[in-house]
Amino acid sequence: MRISLRYFTLFAIANILSFGSFAQIISIYGNIKNSSSNESLSAVSITIKGAISGTFTDDKGNFKVNTNKPLPVTLLVSSVGYSIQEVQVTNASDFVQVGLTPSSLLGQEIVISATRVAERILESPVSIERVSAANIRNAPAANFYDIISTLKGVDVTTSSLTFRSPTTRGFGGSGNVRFNQLVDGMDNQAPGLNFSVGAIIGLNEVDIDNIELLSGASSALYGPGGMNGTLLMTSKNPFKFQGLSFVIKEGIMHTDGSERQLSPYNNWSLRWAKKLSDKFAFKITSELIQAKDWIGTDYRDYNRSAGMLKAGTRATDPNYDGVNVMGDETTADLRQVLNGVAAAAPFLAPFISTLTTKPINVSRTGYNEQEIIDPNTLNFKVGGSFHYKISPNTEAILAGYWGTGNTIYTGASRYSIKDFKMGQYKFELNNKSWMFRAYTTQENAGQSYNLSATTQNFNEAWKPSPGANGWYAQYGQAYLSSKLAGMSDIDAHSAARSVADVGRPAIGTPQFNNLYNTIRKIPVPAGGALLDRSDLYSAEGSYNLSSFTHAVADILIGANFRRYSLNSQGTLFADYDGPITIDEVGAYIQASRELTNNLKITASARYDKNENFKGRFTPRVTAVIKVAANNNIRLSYQTAYRFPSTQMQWINLDLNSYKLIGGNKFFEKFYHFDTNPIYDREALTRSSKVQEVYKVLRPEAISSFEGGYKGLLMNSKLLLDIYGYYGLYTDFLGRKSVVQSKTGAPVVLADTLTGQVYSIPINSTAKVNTYGFGIGLDYSLPLNFSVGLNVASDNLTNVPANFITSFNSPKYKLNATFGNIGFGKGKRVGFNIVYRWQDGFYFEGDLANGNIPTVQTLDAQISYKLPKTKSLLKFGATNLLNQYYYNAVGNSFVGGLYYVSFGYNIY
């Protein structure tokens, strides 16, 4: 190992130092313009034919390229969206002026993520979607991240304004652990959560070069996770994109005042990049989003034990547990109080016995999410990178992204992510044939808190539930008094509540604020705060051996190491003795070969080992069959899996009524499951004793078959993309409720109530299948008009009875777009209309389950270009018709957002 490392190092150095001979260097200067609009074009690639040197035009279209080749030389001038041009330079003193002719973009994009090697999107062996900077400019979305929702086959779960969780092929939800998100190669999951915290850190609108979305299983190249897709966001390289750019977006939300009063939306993005020399460039980026967030206003009653919505309101259901009402999760059976009264007052015992024939569950009075949540959503990002070209082929990058913000996330509760901070810092070496990257993610949950836990504990702090003068005692006695006065049940409950709630702190009072702010800062379970300062360290490298092996096959190899360092100071994880580390290593190899002119086969295999789990092998085989020029059929067999999340391994949270624990073997000894066994709680309620073995978890896995076609038709005006897939999921990770005797005595039926209850992670033995399809049509109309339509369907079958899959995907969804990127005088006016429709579906989430009705939204923008400064004035609206929608039970209701934006130097 040591020897091979030494060779590798030598090899790398040799690559880095592969300078050319010391011949005379000449410089060629020039300027590139759009031949039709006469605008200067930035970021146009200028390379010298037959040489490795090249450059990009700056923000004014100017370039300078150095070469040691003797004149004449041929310059290759290329830019996406324009026909490539060759220009011969015979005299170094000539100023080269080139006019590039716009060409159809359809199908011409280059993607990398599908095979880690650049290739035309038309020839990608797996389904892939791409969003370019131009798409972002033309989209009506207020935030570039929202554009993802209009891609084919994508479902987005919207927790709040800045917390959207995409997925493909089903299994959506807030905080999606089956979907990877990479920013410039860095996995930007929060290490303590195992999913990306929306777009709270990462790139801003003006720094995005492109977004690639790999739909479906993608572990074979990108490692664990990514069972339902991988999103790769790539920023603009400062060598290529230079100058100062910014977008100022000012909007309004809550225009109908139904949730809140009309409020502003501010989104400012900034990027400044400078190429100081041919070797050194840097950039600085920043973004600020500030608004009053969307809020959850679903006040329907929820039956938490049955996991379903039910009829009832606070006024009609004593055990009301509103979806977006916090604190009313605390519930108790009033019979405990009434039976106590009966024992003390035997003359009332018979009367009480007529009331207590069945449980009288009563919940504490909650506060609406709307009342308690910090209305301000804030997202501030700052980032920067230094790029140094060690050689023309090797670029060293030192980059950092840091973000902080407030947002709302839906997990088992609604969480206020407050003053959350996350930083990602990387060092990267990029060579044409190899890559090395080391990065770390530093997370700090800040003042984030669980809204339910905080409000529940707030209620306890104001008036404890138990005790002789506790809330339930007061309630129970008042209820009994009312019943003794002949009142109906509901009136008695309502009278009792008003008695028990006497002195309840009112929203907005100093009493409420002081107490609430105290409780939210105390860690769970006593308060609501989440202390999480977990980190992630990762190093990875890859080598493209094609230059040696091309005769046989193009071979790519790579390896990575990853360490999670969980640090919650014992408040979330079982990390009482200091941070817990979890190490993962992985390696992959990919070989591809064109078997015939029309058939290219790519096979890859990846092996990953997590220190807590058995190693996992994930193969992938793909084939691309060229049926005609620009028409390809793709076939693939892919596998993917995910190790249990860091929380599923190490969480140790006492939630009073039960303990939520991880699946690590540590817990078996910690809670003495080996000597004081645990039993299936559900079975025990039926008086059946089923001992539960605390098993080592297995990674959850999927195998997927997919076929697709992508091609340009109708004289290259129509891009058609079709796919169909079939997936098999095994070893679903879920949870189970078990009971342990508190005394160590053999477990008895009563222990379902009085014993220690744990929620332990398990692998389900169920296997479920998914299948679906997608069709995308993009048609270029004359005069820069274009229309697009995509339809997708995701389905789940073979679901065992009572098995909760959280598939959470509408059976059908549709996106339609109509737009123009430039018409009128000087082709300065553009517009885009996006219509999205999705079918209703049954949502299953940790917070709540329930029907999600059909959703349709209309987004639109109209823009005007100011070519001199490459500026764009845009009027846009998302959810133009302001029809509030929600896509998960308990999540925020999203209404219309109307904005005007000014972007400077953005194209």
């Binding site: 007052a345 035997p346 009367f351 109906s488 009136d491 109309l781 029907n851 349709q856």
Partner: protein, 425 residues
């Protein structure tokens, strides 16, 4: 150009179609139908009672009590026992100390209620006739022991907000509320039900101990209980006097008369002196011992006589005393018609003891009260009679405390005088 126009038309139509389907709004959250409570139709309890002429005097009593708005509140549910005017007249005649004769005009009775009867008395009486639950005839239990229903009467709110006097509707041997017959079918009202009662059900006023402590004919019982409690504080949970003074208790005391106690004690002492059972022959054969036994038993000092401590130990006396007490309330009308054993308080110490055997014989349907009622101890040769002394026009069982001998109702139980001491062995 024409083809462009044509294409625009096609796409234009498509988008117009799109905008047409758009106004189909996003649905608000799917709501579940809520049933809104509606006030039940028809007249309320108060209105129903008011509408029955023969209930006018009780209606006057309700008005006087201030509880009319309570039972007229249709958001509440009650069961009310309502006597007719004849029954009310009997009550007023007694309550006025005979000042209002039974043959006085109705206006005199109603006048007495609305001006002479203290409001607190009216509220106590009416409150005791109201159960804060719906209890139709079909729901009145027939099981023994009686189910006690809390009424809305709190005799001492200052003591506890939860204090309630309880009432004992029963459908055994006819239909009863305490020891008063229910005379007709249910009269439904919007917010409850009315049961016509043969007489006014009055709330008990005193504790069982108050009677035992003061009744000149129960001095031996008092002495026995005091002896049983010797060395036990009245506040102790095992104190018998404490229980007999406890509003939370629910008891039936079979109270042997002094004569009964004397007889039993004489026999017991005689046997203790001679080793022979007391029979006329044995008494004649042992005149000295017999005379001594009679003398010792002739006074309640018998329980405190140090000479007898070895015979009448506190435990023995307590054993006998608790054998006379049931842990529930049994009016004579609740007794079974065939002799049946029921546990006594002795069973808390001797769980397998069969208890006492109760039996009653009932009169005709027109006079449904028990004509005889007996209780028999395991060690007794014959059953003890409950002293039911006929005294028309009020049935014997209804002679109010402290003047009657049977079905004497107290805050914490019922007392029946009996003519034998019950022997557990």
């Amino acid at each position: 150009m024409i083809s462009i126009k044509h294409k625009f038309k096609t796409w234009g139509f498509l988008f117009i179609a799109l905008f047409i389907i758009l106004p189909a709004c996003n649905k608000e959250v799917e709501q579940f139908p809520e049933s809104t409570p509606v006030a039940p139709p028809g007249p309320s309890l108060g209105e129903t009672i008011a509408a029955i002429p023969n209930n006018s005097l009780f209606y006057n009593l309700i008005v006087r009590s201030g509880l009319l708005p309570t039972i007229n509140n249709k958001a509440t549910t009650f069961t009310v026992f309502v006597p007719d005017n004849t029954a009310m007249k009997l009550f007023i005649n007694a309550a006025s100390g005979g000042l209002v004769p039974l043959n006085a005009p109705d206006a005199i009775f109603s006048g007495f209620i609305s001006s002479s009867l203290p409001v607190s008395s009216a509220a106590g009486i009416v409150g005791y006739n109201i159960i804060p639950q719906l209890l139709t005839s079909a729901g009145i239990p027939s099981a023994f022991p009686n189910f006690q229903y809390a009424t809305i009467l709190n005799p001492a709110p200052s003591l506890s907000a939860f204090l309630r006097l309880t009432i004992f509707p029963a459908s055994r041997n006819g239909s009863w509320v305490n020891n008063i017959p229910i005379t007709g079918p249910d009269v439904p009202a919007a917010n409850g039900v009315i049961h016509p009662s043969a007489f006014l059900v009055t709330p008990p006023q005193r504790y069982l101990w108050d009677r035992i402590n003061t009744d000149a004919g129960l001095t031996y019982l008092k002495a026995a209980i005091t002896r049983a409690d010797s060395g036990v504080a009245a506040t102790s949970p095992v104190s018998l006097i404490g229980a007999l003074n406890n509003i939370g208790a629910n008891l039936t005391v079979f109270a042997p008369t002094d004569a009964a106690f004397q007889l039993t004690l004489t026999g017991a002492i005689f046997q203790g002196l001679t080793g022979l059972p007391l029979t006329p022959a044995n008494a004649a054969a042992h005149p000295v011992e017999y005379a001594q036994a009679v003398a010792l038993a002739s006074s309640t000092d018998v329980f405190t006589n140090p000479l007898l401590f070895s015979v009448l130990t506190a435990q023995t006396v307590k054993g006998i005393a608790v054998y006379h007490i049931l842990g529930n309330r049994a009016f004579t009308n609740n007794f079974p018609t065939t002799a049946t054993f029921y546990p006594t308080l002795l069973n808390s110490a001797v769980p397998i003891h069969p208890g006492v055997s109760l039996q009653a014989v009932f009169g005709a349907a027109s006079a449904p009260f028990a004509t005889t009622a007996t209780v028999k101890g395991v060690g007794n040769a014959t059953a003890s009679n409950i002293l039911i002394i006929p005294a028309p026009p009020i049935p014997a069982a209804l002679i109010p405390e402290p003047f009657g001998n049977s079905d004497q109702h107290y805050l914490n139980g019922v007392l029946h005088k009996i003519d034998q001491v019950l022997l557990p062995l």
